[in-house]
Symmetry: D3
């Protein structure tokens, strides 16, 4: 039995507060276990240099933690004067997977800037941030559709993400901080509503794993992501923009 009586193939309940920030075009506070992440979407009328004149839009993300999101305090990136490697890696992932389900040519020359700020961290913040960002992005895009700025047909599919891993020999879904710290294998999986893979990042933290283990972990992830996408579908009664 896991902490709080969770089963090996059970995700932590996710709570999503939509419209959490008053000013952002889309925003949520997403919570699961002790994780608490604010995801916001800001729309800017510019695109990166390589897209200028292409008529196409862009989606990019930034990820940060407040200093005491974790058990010990982290020094702010602004004090260090640079973004840490872990943040860099996560924010590149978030931007990439969101772009994979959006028709960028339908956005016009606009950038959808996603900010994920972790208020409290408890394992799996990168996958929870993906789920939260997707919901905030859909909210922002529905806003554009409602105001007549964009036409429907923008988002091709739902998107959900979860972590899986091997801890003390057991294959577990949705690792919390303590489980994550002891994981032999750690995997982040991002999938669409139609069950296709968008990103698989599996890492042998301690011991290399075989193809069978990979497949069993993917089965677990598929189950968890299915539940997350069901939740998203309940939030968006009128479907995707």
């Amino acid at each position: 039995m896991r902490k709080n009586g969770r089963k090996a193939d059970e995700i932590r309940p996710i709570v999503i507060h939509q419209g959490y920030l008053k000013y952002a075009e889309g925003s949520v506070l997403i919570e699961a276990g002790n994780n608490r992440i604010v995801c916001s979407v800001s729309i800017e009328d510019r695109v990166p240099p390589f897209l200028k004149g292409s008529g196409q839009g862009w989606i990019t993300a930034e990820y940060a933690m407040i200093p005491r999101a974790t058990t010990t305090r982290n020094i702010r990136d602004s004090v260090k004067g640079r973004i840490g490697g872990r943040s860099h890696e996560i924010q590149r992932l978030i931007g990439r997977v969101l772009r994979a389900v959006v028709d960028l040519s339908s956005l016009g020359e606009r950038t959808f800037m996603v900010d994920c700020d972790v208020i409290q961290a408890d394992g799996g913040t990168r996958t929870l941030a993906i789920t939260g960002s997707f919901v905030a992005l859909v909210e922002a895009l529905w806003g554009c559709v409602d105001r007549g700025i964009l036409s429907r047909g923008i988002v091709r599919d739902y998107l959900g993400a979860v972590s899986v891993g091997v801890v003390e020999g057991r294959e577990l879904l949705d690792l919390d901080f303590e489980e994550d710290s002891n994981a032999e294998v750690d995997m982040n999986v991002v999938m669409t509503g139609s069950g296709k893979l968008v990103e698989v990042q599996g890492t042998a933290e301690r011991s290399p794993f075989d193809r069978e283990a990979l497949n069993r972990l993917l089965d677990l992830a598929e189950k968890g992501i299915g539940e997350i996408i069901d939740l998203e579908k309940r939030l968006f009664e009128r479907g995707l923009p």
Copy 2:
């Protein structure tokens, strides 16, 4: 009449969620109007170089906003690679006023690191952050007393802060974002429970002001801070550590 039917000498109701962060030694989510600030206190077993060997402790603060705390998105300090001037100014203020009511020699060689992260901003974040930080600090200090690490007699007095200003010729207490943007005079006041001044920062944003106006604004601030300190006293039934 002001927005939401507020009177000139009326503060916005303040809501303080104590123990908001699971890991921090002290923490609050403090809300007033659309302001929403997380204040946390982390205790570290080190002091700045100029205090090494003095037996004395230190209190310092950092202040930041998440990018979409405001109507338009701000570029992160970590992306700019440096802390902005406004943040620098505010975090120096917060550290200074907290130190003014604490007996640093009673802390031992420890640093109480205060982090104020603004999730949403609506005018007066620096004064609200002072109030929130004071509550989080008291919580952290009571924790030290309860665990026998420190002895009582640490905090000399309550501490509260509020902004006042002149907007279209009217003297107002606790300016919200819109009022603040149009203020001719803008003043931040920090006072103790016994009604003494810890900090007065008055700025003629548009038109210089006379001594009488200064005094009327201080009267308003005194009223507002009195109410804030009453709230603090209700939170700490057993008084100050």
Copy 3:
């Protein structure tokens, strides 16, 4: 009696060398006690982004010390790769108070860049820098008027600044370094020629102060600033541009 036989309500004599720098549009070397500050004004044909197309000008300031301006050597900001918090705070103050007495709409889309470089520091550099910057700015503006670039009616009033404080229980005008280091209360006051307040920044370094003390300190500041503005008037026989 204070050092050099100064009375409690006596400022240190101020010496202003106008036109100190050959190339700058306006410049002074201002000295008081052991303070020695070079203030220069450079006119640039651009404004910050938020003023582009407004037809309005801007005044901004930068403040720095050379490394051995103080008793111990300070590491250069360029070596640290960032501007320190204290410098940030001071340069924001200088820009703000200069803008308060200038009609920015009369400047055209130009930036008046004020540089304050402290060659030697002896308490009260930020207020002395304000006085020096005001004189250098007036010099630069008269130059613009004389060359027919701008028309008179630019500067609304004189501007002077001084520090006051409480040291070992005594209320003193114009604290020098030693007094400043021991001050219980430290206040910087900026006023116009007509005796109005532009900025009041009072800080309880050690012990909170009451409203009566605040008023007595403001009386002291008013006296000192009056003398400073008299000096400025003698420098500018033809008045303000």
Copy 4:
């Protein structure tokens, strides 16, 4: 047919120049297609703070490109003043996978610092850098064993890496720059000599992929890595240190 007559399941021939740098404890120039990477290992008598006193060693990596390694010139990270996100991501990967096959407790409190400098890039530099780094690390470790500093039993298994992907619907092994630029799915796979997975990073650049595609791509990777590990075995006649 692919460029140079390569088949879909064929890797580019790899040439490894061992001992390429005179001063480094281990070093190679590794070439494949137009890729040309210098990998070096430097041994330092210190470990990161979290390992001090643990008796355990560490392996970490840095990855960079010279400015004209690519078709257009890149601005140096030193000029930008920060490491780019892509470099951050890759160097974290290299360090992580090397640590997965090494018994860190057998290293003593030493850091093996791996530097991968890409002189010319042609697709798949991160996987080629892993292979090159592994060879340089083994060289450095054999050196330690030969000088009696470390005892055998350090490296648990061989390590090889390759990229696979889907390009215009075809599943290909070891993508070159042009193929990589057009890939719908891009995957980096790191495996041990015994065929276990150390890292799988699959990304849907354009279109999400299903589990069957993932498995076919892993089959391709397994074939390529097998050949790479055969090459490594030929280089190290006396096996692993």
Copy 5:
């Protein structure tokens, strides 16, 4: 006798691999002793601000070492977040001497960006980098002439560079790392094909030197540079562009 039987007035044999990088407009790998430097030239359709609209071009250089180019590992400039003083000094030198033999007005508004990346260092990298950069630049310029972008008459003369010095009282040509570390006087000399001086940088590392020693060292340098320019002439059968 010097290491490898070299005489006092003998340079180390230089090997130049032209066209070393596939993508750069001009590039060489230049080797001498254990020195190994990649020099590349990238052409960009922009000039520094001070040349905009002048119709004139520009040549500038950047110089860096990979971390393990030297006996002990150097921290990367990108990790330190700034370019080191030595690199700054060298890259300014390289750009300056190349500009001295090129008719900038014949380049059009283009920048020829020279990158010198030291793969391995063995004394005299700055002078070897000048020679290598000159060859890569000529290659890039011939390319422009051949494609009809520029007309001949661009490069006024050949350019070569060498170091000389006094080591244990002996005047030596082309110091290697060990000799350089023990030099009492260290001098870098850059000359044209017609024997004129472009740059002389002589430094008394330990003991000041007299005019006679200066002249003897210049004689040595003249001999070495003559040989280097002979080598360049053999590389460019059709002369200078």
Copy 6:
């Protein structure tokens, strides 16, 4: 005839204000033409890592300009977040030449930190800064001798520096800003009291020069430096410490 009736072989009169800064161990304001430079020496009880435990001291320098030292305003290095290449080059030169005439082993493990801050620039600031720094350093060292911290025998010889150059075909001593801007050849020379060379840096800004020109320029420099060292000798009646 040159500006102000100067002859080709005439230096600008140099004025040295000794003890210019109250707090520094040694300091001067040095002026020549419109040049105005503050040089200070700060003694610190630490040495760079490579000298720890050697019993030997160190001398190092930093060089900067205030923003409006020049005809147009320069952006501060602290704002750019890095030291410019020119400053880097100059401060390395100043430190190096001072070390060449000082017996570092007689200093104990102390660093003599020289700061050169240019208040106004008019050509030749780097050589004037060397002369000023030497005087400030001697002042600081005499102070150490007088307080019994160091014993005499520290400074081996006097040190002076001057620039020479070719302007419109004429060989000139001590170029001012205007001459320097038009120089075809620019040379900085540093010599000892006994007429030996410490540093020669000659640059063909426009047209390469021959050995005869080099020798005539060195003759000019020798004359100028002789006069500078005469001035130094008059300042230090009791000779060198």
